[in-house]
Subunit: 354 residues, 2 copies
């Protein structure tokens, strides 16, 4: 195996995601139906099932990478993918809880090319519906009656805490002058890695896998999460607004200390020094001063990050994490087709930047 | 038994609460210590363990009625109170999660005579630390290794969903012109009753009680919660700011459709009609128009509520719910001292208005 080259064609991924959505969405909708009005409607808007006027919609409800991972992980344990459905629903609920709260905290007005929940329904609904989805995740997973459901619930609880820790660190970094690359990677392992690790192992746990298999799948998911986040960090600075659905230089507008930024600040040379001087001053500015910046100010920062090597370093890091993720799959016996699909999903995540 | 008169002297309650705090607080602090900085500090501020400057504090961390109920409920099942500690910690974490988010959504600047978390540490920290405490509750309760811990975790998840549903309804009612007394009671059964019901039964569940005992304790807790909320609704309109730590007419300032308000609006006669006309117009006002009201406007509304009978009705309702709560304890065999303490706690909750 040569983990430096894609092992599998990513063109099987759309079908895989579609199959996962077909299995998981009905169960997810049944779960959301338990919420009291008006939260059920607000949640349905968030998931893209209805529009802002309450009419049925074929909106984009996200790529559903996490549900696909949960079902594949059940298959990895030799179980039917349906065994992974409660895990897929629970992970998707936790993921969407975090999106609802993060969009509010970050002031993001758009997600998946639509207005965010706090923008349409107000901050209180974003908080409440987020809380409700988070609670529902425990409720759903604990409805399983065997010991595997309890193991899965424990792992989900720990992953959720790490996810929240990661978001707290991400926000704290915005106002810190210096953040090391290691601190940023630790934050991203929490913010993105922990829930993907849970998604990639929860189906196996529900299917009765031993700890060794579950841990290997968890390691695959964690490093896939780090690869995913590195790509996301690149898109956060250089992404095309037409495809990301966000503003240009979106992470720079929020003073995110993302990987390209901290890697560039840690570099040597004049570009790194000029960038560090600018960002150190930025950290002390008020949000208003910052919002008054013109586009050129962000463009200048993006150029310095690239010149100092932050863009290249992050792209290499995405690849490095991809390699570790795929390598982790070699540690345990897996059904051949499942292994191929897990690798294809990893390819899909890493080539997303193209 | 005559449930119309207090069955037990409430003067045993301070000692009971003190004993509960001594058992539960160390475990609660260990749980909170798991949070990543800066959330651990923010949570410690919220619980009154440190002040806004981070110095150790002997602040008021609340009455701890819920932890006391959880420990008593373990004793009700014939178990050692220590068996109820994880349940007490989990319930207290869920309760404080809801306080952190509710204070932010309601714009409340003071709690327990101190600035609220969103006021001191900002809205993002209030959201994040609330999320973290909510997640921690599942994590703690699921660390129990037997089937009773899983039963307890399931009940806590359902109670948490009801709590969030209740808060969503409470907020939705602020902008509705008409809310019936039954709708208000259903909202309060969710918002306050569900978690008190869980607190009053979780220790028994952890102690291996049968469903009949757990259900009777749950019923006691739910109706105690409704009595507690009726008293709270009275304090929300007529409470003395020096003892509530809130502004005068606090619920009226937020357009809460609390029990005295909806009972008065449902009454007959000129005061009810004048009140209804005023509040119907209020529901359409912007928050700014509303905040420009002078004190006299709120005083006039409070007087109309009283004149229409809303204050009297709510005081009677508190008593009625107290009677049902105490009556539920008669349905199951309980150790004598435990029954006395449960009744004393109910007395304490209802006489709080004096």
């Amino acid at each position: 195996m040569n983990p430096a080259a894609p092992l599998s064609s990513p063109d099987i991924v759309p079908d895989l995601l579609e199959r996962s959505r077909a299995l998981v969405t009905p169960a997810l909708r049944l779960a959301v139906d338990r919420l009291a009005p008006p939260m059920d409607t607000v949640a349905a808007y968030h998931f893209g099932w209805i529009d802002a006027e309450g009419q049925p919609s074929e909106g984009d409800s996200g790529k559903a990478v996490r549900p696909a991972l949960a079902l594949l992980s059940a298959e990895a344990a030799g179980a039917d993918p349906a065994v992974g459905v409660p895990g897929a629903v629970a992970v998707e609920l936790v993921h969407n809880f975090s999106l609802l709260h993060d969009d509010l905290m970050d002031g993001d007005e758009q997600r998946r090319h639509r207005d965010t929940v706090w923008k349409v329904h107000g901050p209180s609904q974003a908080i409440l519906v987020g809380d409700a989805l988070f609670g529902l995740a425990s409720e759903i997973i604990l409805e399983g009656t065997d010991a595997n459901a309890v193991r899965a619930a424990r792992r989900l609880a720990v992953a959720s805490r790490k996810l929240i820790d990661g978001q707290a660190q991400d926000i704290a970094f915005e106002h810190r002058e210096q953040v090391t690359v290691d601190e940023c990677l630790a934050m991203e392992a929490n913010k993105t890695g922990a829930l993907l690790a849970c998604a990639a192992s929860i189906g196996a746990v529900l299917g009765g896998a031993d700890d060794r298999t579950a841990d290997a799948l968890e390691s695959y998911g964690r490093h896939l999460g780090l690869a995913f986040q590195a790509v996301d960090d690149l898109l956060g600075v250089w992404g095309d607004p037409n495809s990301t659905g966000k503003l240009t230089w979106s992470d720079l507008r929020q003073r995110k200390k993302s990987l390209p930024v901290v890697a560039a600040m840690a570099a040597e040379g004049p570009a790194a020094r000029r960038l560090t001087a600018l960002l150190t001053a930025d950290a002390k500015k008020s949000q208003q001063e910052f919002e008054d910046f013109d586009e050129g100010e962000f463009a200048a920062r993006a150029e310095l990050i690239e010149e100092a090597g932050g863009r290249r370093w992050t792209a290499d890091e995405a690849r490095r994490q991809y390699d570790i993720a795929v390598g982790a799959l070699a540690d345990v016996p897996l059904p051949g087709p499942t292994r191929n699909e897990l690798v294809a999903l990893a390819d899909f995540v890493v080539v997303r930047s193209k």
